[in-house]
């Protein structure tokens, strides 16, 4: 089932300006694979060279930190709103 992923402002230039993207992935690891596959410039920003997610961004499911929901093991529900946010975001263009 498709889910909505909100993209933080600093990364929207790599998604063609899209503030939200619809994805088919069902968990965080597969979401990262899908996003970086569709938008290759995101890979360097979101992932370490070995593919693990970078330390300084957080993922929220319906405003809850995904680490409280099981992290990589959490299975997305169809109505979940997924937010990717730098852990210390900032800057208004």
């Amino acid at each position: 089932m498709p889910c909505q992923v909100r993209i933080p402002t600093p990364l929207q230039k790599f998604t063609g300006g899209a503030e939200a993207v619809t994805c088919e992935a069902t968990s965080l690891p597969t979401l990262l694979v899908e996003l970086t596959g569709r938008f290759p410039e995101l890979k360097e920003r979101l992932c370490e060279p070995d593919g693990r997610p970078r330390r300084f961004f957080n993922v929220y499911i319906n405003d809850e930190d995904i680490r409280f929901l099981g992290g990589d093991n959490y299975q997305f529900a169809p109505t979940d709103e997924i937010l990717i946010l730098p852990s210390i975001a900032g800057g208004c263009n």
Binding site: P8, T9, P10, E44, R45, R54, R55, F56, F57, N58, Y60, D63, D65, R67, F68, L85, P86, S87, I88, A89, G90, G91, C92
Partner: protein, 429 residues
């Protein structure tokens, strides 16, 4: 009073090293890691000596060459320059030889160390032309920003969790700031601020002004070194919320060694948290490099940050310095607030209780006794957290105003109160 040029040279990513010109942004656009302000340290070394610093007023601006570049003619309020007090009675109670208290509980103007980081942030907000400043806060930052914004002519919008102590709410509203309270905890409010920063032209001091804001904390470290006679302590015990202060104190000690202002010496940087919100101390004790976030549950509401933004760096600073971290229960925290007040006459808030209670544990573990002084960083005033103070061990009597009642009361006291009946050397008529 003008002291000459600034030595700020912009921003640098703490992870990938990418550099940026000075601007209101908190994170690296390449890797999202936090940014820090960089300086021309060689230029500072040539420009100023500790002897020259010694001639300046005793405020945080004494160290202005080591702070971000401000606007010409900007106000320099008398923030910082708080006492470093020898604490022999607390030292004896804790079983150590030489203990000092860095007392930001009396900082100007709102009685916490946050006055320093606000002063640094507002200096930069002025340079960037912000008219409105903002923050997410567990309380002390709200007070400090509200006061600083009023004094320096900014609008302030302040966001806090709804369960904030009454004293901290009143202590924010009184300055005319706009306060928004939110259901949920600080971490949720902080996340919201990150989203707000992307949409509104506000100087959010702990988000898009964060690198400049954080620099204010270094002045705690510079002052400790100077007040010890340009000497480094053997260990510092510092409370941790977001994890920024402890790292900046360590940075300050590095700076004064690089500048040759002190003899190089190792300092054990130690952190203190509440057991009910201990993501950093648990990571240190379990030997993990990464934070596992928690949902906070502690009376130490000023430290109730379950997802500390600088937690990763705090762990690293502690580990690299040979320091340690521990945490204290709510009961231990309240008791330690009482111990600090009763031994040294200092009324610190819950974070101070955390620091003293953890100091006791670290001393028992033998982690801070190096032969050089131990410094406890007291970050806020107890008047702001009255609900955490334990009631007195004996009830307070209410007597009729008759001498017989006083005599009866004194007669009822035990041997432990002999001081009350002991006559001075000159006899009392």
């Amino acid at each position: 009073m003008s002291f000459g040029p600034y030595f700020e040279r912009g921003l640098r990513c703490r992870d990938c090293g990418k550099q940026f010109p000075s601007q209101p942004v908190a994170g690296c656009d390449a890797c999202f890691a936090p940014l820090e302000v960089i300086y021309d340290m060689e230029g500072i070394r040539r420009a100023v000596t500790p002897q020259q610093l010694g001639q300046r007023p005793e405020t945080m601006w004494r160290y202005r060459e080591l702070l971000p570049a401000g606007a010409e003619g900007a106000p320099e309020r008398p923030v910082g320059g708080t006492p470093l007090l020898a604490a022999p009675r607390l030292a004896k109670a804790l079983g150590v030889r030489e203990l000092y208290i860095k007392n930001d509980a009396v900082n100007f103007p709102t009685l916490s160390f946050k006055d320093r980081v606000v002063a640094a942030a507002l200096s930069k907000a002025r340079v960037f032309g912000f008219k409105t400043v903002s923050c997410s806060s567990t309380g002390n930052l709200a007070n400090a920003l509200a006061a600083g914004a009023a004094a320096e002519g900014f609008e302030a919008v302040i966001l806090t969790p709804a369960d904030l102590e009454e004293a901290k709410i009143i202590g924010t509203l009184v300055y005319g700031a706009r306060l928004l309270k939110f259901t949920g905890n600080y971490d949720q409010v902080n996340r919201l601020c990150a989203e707000i920063a992307q949409r509104h032209p506000w100087g959010i001091v702990n988000v898009n002004l964060r690198p400049f804001y954080a620099e204010g904390s270094k002045t705690v470290g510079y002052e400790i070194a100077e007040q010890l006679g340009w000497r480094l302590p053997g260990a510092v015990i510092c409370p941790m919320a977001g994890g920024s202060l402890i790292g900046k104190i360590a940075k300050a000690f590095d700076d004064v060694q690089k500048l040759g202002w002190v003899t190089e010496a190792p300092v054990r940087i130690c952190g203190a948290q509440a057991t009910g919100c201990s993501p950093i101390s648990l990571a240190v004790k379990e030997g993990r490099a990464e934070i596992q976030p928690q949902r906070p549950n502690t009376i130490a509401r000023s430290l109730a940050i379950g997802n500390p933004a600088d937690g990763f760096y705090a762990i690293r600073t502690i580990a690299q310095s040979g320091g340690w971290a521990d945490d204290a229960s709510d009961t231990e925290i309240s008791e330690a607030m009482g111990l600090l007040a009763e031994t040294e006459g200092i009324f610190g808030e819950t974070a101070a209780g955390v620091t003293v209670a953890v100091a006791r544990k670290l001393i028992q573990q033998g982690r801070v006794q190096t032969g050089a002084p131990i410094v406890l960083v007291i970050t806020g005033n107890g008047l702001k957290t009255l609900d955490a103070v334990l009631p007195p061990s004996t009830p307070v009597p209410t007597l009729a105003p008759k001498i017989a009642e006083v005599e009866a009361y004194l007669a009822s006291l035990g041997a432990g109160d002999a001081n009350l009946t002991e006559a001075p050397l000159a006899s009392v008529r």
